[in-house]
């Protein structure tokens, strides 16, 4: 059985090259791995090694020949003493050959799901009625209760981050958790976000359910490679074998007077990435219900909190089973004239604006997104069908922001229902300034929402 040696491609883009030199001649015995010739392209010279053993029977392309197309036979090796199995090896298929179907499978290949179209985001079940009364607690307490409840329920859940244990949390979110759960499960890290985010991802690959607290999301930029390349993409890249049940949480967006490096909204950064879930609670009920859902979710979840909201109090159901669905927006205030969509701290500002608008005779509907990925387009479209007008609110920059996405979604799903162009209220397109007056100007206020709503209503 003889084997043809083909002109190899040195790179995915190479189509032809020069056969610069032969290192063997007819009659030579060739071993696997032995250099048989040199190939030259405009970019490089490379040695070609034999893969098969045998004797050089024929040289088909003389050295010095230019423009030899990839996959042209360049020499023939006569086999010696090859087994029957080898002899059955067919001539190598050329690049253009379509692969033939074969039923054989790798033994541990996981069972394949076979949806045929881009999956629509399945609508989560509506929120049930919660048992018992409510408690009036801060967002900070709600977050703590959520973590404590999930840590009690599942030993694989642990919390790590800077100052989360002995210091009781830089913003006191984790206060008391070290006492209850001990140093094994509430872990102070060094100030090395890239390292501990990656370590958390590894722990999640290893079967644990880490909650990684970033002191603020500004510092998570150091870790974003691990969040996106390792946490978000590995499930897909492994064909579904690897899972990464991890929550990255911490305050996002502007705090107060801490200037540009400590005051950025990362909502649109993370919402851009398939493989992540991105949640942004506003109220204490959001915080508790969504964080419990995030910890239970088998995927990587980005949980964007807000420092200014930590101390604000809201009613939260006392039901021990209270948890919120991921991917479902909440209509915080029903209205018929204009839809105002907001998330995180902007929900409060939107509600304030709605009160102002009511005085002007404009009845605004306020939607709290809660989840940015998946995005509850359906709830917004239903609202726009009723109000025919939409204002989007976010603290982050407008360009390529959540409002930009919302506008595009309305073009696709609600164009015929809109009586006015969508209006965006967003942070100004500048690094956030330190000076009190400038900071206030740069951040969207409820008065900006009022103006925008009046503009889309022509009032």
């Amino acid at each position: 059985m003889s084997t043809q040696v083909l002109m190899p491609a040195l790179s995915p883009t190479m189509t032809e090259g020069k056969l610069a030199k032969w290192h063997v001649k007819v009659g030579d015995e060739v071993k696997s791995g032995q250099v048989i010739c040199e190939i030259e392209t405009d970019k490089a010279t490379m040695e070609v090694e034999a893969v098969d053993e045998g004797t050089v029977a024929k040289i088909l392309v003389e050295e010095g020949t230019e423009g030899v197309a990839v996959n042209t036979p360049i020499c023939v090796l006569a086999g010696e003493g090859e087994s029957a199995a080898d002899a059955e090896t067919p001539a190598p298929a050329a690049k253009a050959d379509a692969p033939k179907a074969e039923a054989a499978k790798v033994e541990e290949k996981p069972k394949a799901d076979t949806p045929t179209v881009a999956p629509a985001v399945a609508a989560p079940a509506p929120e049930p009625e919660w048992k018992g009364g409510t408690q009036h607690i801060t967002v900070r307490e709600a977050l703590r209760e959520a973590m404590a409840a999930e840590m009690r329920a599942d030993k694989a859940v642990f919390l790590m981050g800077e100052e989360v244990a002995q210091y009781q949390g830089a913003y006191k979110v984790s206060q008391g958790l070290l006492d209850e759960f001990g140093a094994k499960r509430v872990i102070d890290t060094p100030i090395t976000e890239h390292g501990f985010a990656g370590l958390g991802v590894g722990a999640a690959f290893g079967g644990l359910k880490p909650i990684v607290e970033f002191m603020t999301f500004n510092f998570a930029m150091q870790a974003i490679d691990q969040i996106i390349n390792s946490a978000a993409k590995t499930h897909y890249m492994s064909g579904g074998q690897m899972t990464c049940p991890i929550v990255f949480r911490g305050p996002n967006g502007a705090a107060s007077r801490v200037a540009a490096q400590h005051s950025q909204c990362y909502a649109s950064w993370y919402a851009h990435v398939p493989g992540l879930r991105v949640l942004a609670p506003w109220s204490a009920a959001d915080a508790k219900g969504l964080l419990r859902a995030a910890i239970r979710d088998p995927n990587p979840v980005i949980f964007l909190e807000n420092e200014i909201l930590y101390g604000q109090s809201f009613d939260v159901p006392e039901d021990p089973d209270f948890v919120l669905p991921i991917g479902k927006a909440k209509i915080e205030r029903a209205g018929k004239d204009v839809t105002i969509v907001a998330f995180s701290i902007m929900v409060g500002k939107a509600l304030q604006a709605a009160e102002e608008l009511a005085k002007l005779g404009i009845d605004a509907e306020v939607i709290n997104l809660r989840s940015l990925r998946p995005f509850d387009t359906e709830t917004i479209v239903e609202s726009v069908k009723k109000t025919n007008r939409l204002v989007s609110c976010e603290e982050g920059w407008p360009f390529a922001g959540i409002g930009a996405e919302l506008s595009a979604l309305m073009m696709e799903h609600a164009f015929d229902w809109l009586d006015a162009p969508v209006k965006r209220v967003a942070g100004l397109d500048v690094p956030l300034p330190y000076a009190a007056n400038l900071e206030k100007m740069a951040l969207p206020q409820s008065s900006n929402i009022v103006e925008a709503a009046r503009a889309v209503c022509n009032r």
């Binding site: 995915p12 893969v51 080898d86 692969p99 074969e102 054989a104 995927n299």
Partner: protein, 347 residues
Amino acid sequence: MAKPATKPKDDPSPAKAKSPPNLGDNSISPDELKAHYRDMLLIRRFEERAGQLYGMGLIGGFCHLYIGQEAVVVGMQANVRDKDAVITSYRDHGHMLACGMDPKGVMAELTGRSGGYSKGKGGSMHMFSREKSFYGGHGIVGAQVPIGTGLAFAHKYNGDQNVSLTYFGDGSANQGQVYEAMNMAALWKLPVVYIIENNRYGMGTSVERASATTELYRHGEAFGIPGERVDGMDVLAVRAAGEKAIEHARSGQGPYILEMQTYRYRGHSMSDPAKYRTKEEVDKFRNERDPIEHIRKRLLDAKIVDEAGLKAVDTEIRKIVNDAAEFSQHSPEPDPSELWTDILVEA
């Protein structure tokens, strides 16, 4: 763990049955030595074939071959337990084979077919096997080091006595996240062995041009991590060093660094003509230090196997590799529906 010599089963050499051959290392049995030879040869032949398929356009994108470095992973794997985690960079084909992953599934992933370990969605740099405790295959230089440290964290958290073998190259040895991870590993006494595969070049830049101190085994000194430099071309030296390092980690003493001095014969990836080093340098390693040739000679000298026995190993490997290549060309491309699967785990 290295075991005392056991009775060989299929050894054609009659000499050995009476008096054990002198292998210079009492902890290695003739069978084990032969197995190491076989495992290294499998990686070599597999990689040569992968290079060929790449040349034919059947493998796309980046393809980083392990040829020359076989002794490192084979020597280390001789010491592992079933659930010890293994993680490495994108030069990962050898590690997968050494972990016992099916060559067919690996080759089919290289060709982007549905029979590949990642259903064709990962490619050369991104393959995994939970069953074999192989955690990838990572395409970002250095990223696997904190992840491997996290796998060690999970082992410690679960108290299961398993360790994490975290491989990386000289090219990532100066990355920030590597030191962040080493610090936490030492601080928390995590059961991780860092194996630096120093093949002398991070792509085209030599260690001397990239690293202020070239004694990479000492790079954990700031954190009190012991380190050792090992002849990574000698599978037995690797195995002996690995045994000690793994025992250190397993017994709760924390991380350990092994710097494997090795060499890759091929370019950084298939499209690298490797102009940054001389042909003489490459030839010197190939001709004088080849890890497979070294063990082949030992096997013959100690009369553990004769030429016919080696030929039999060769034939067996050739068949495995041929079958893998065949499978990788005939396994179908992934169904279009796979485009939309495995993005999220549906709860």
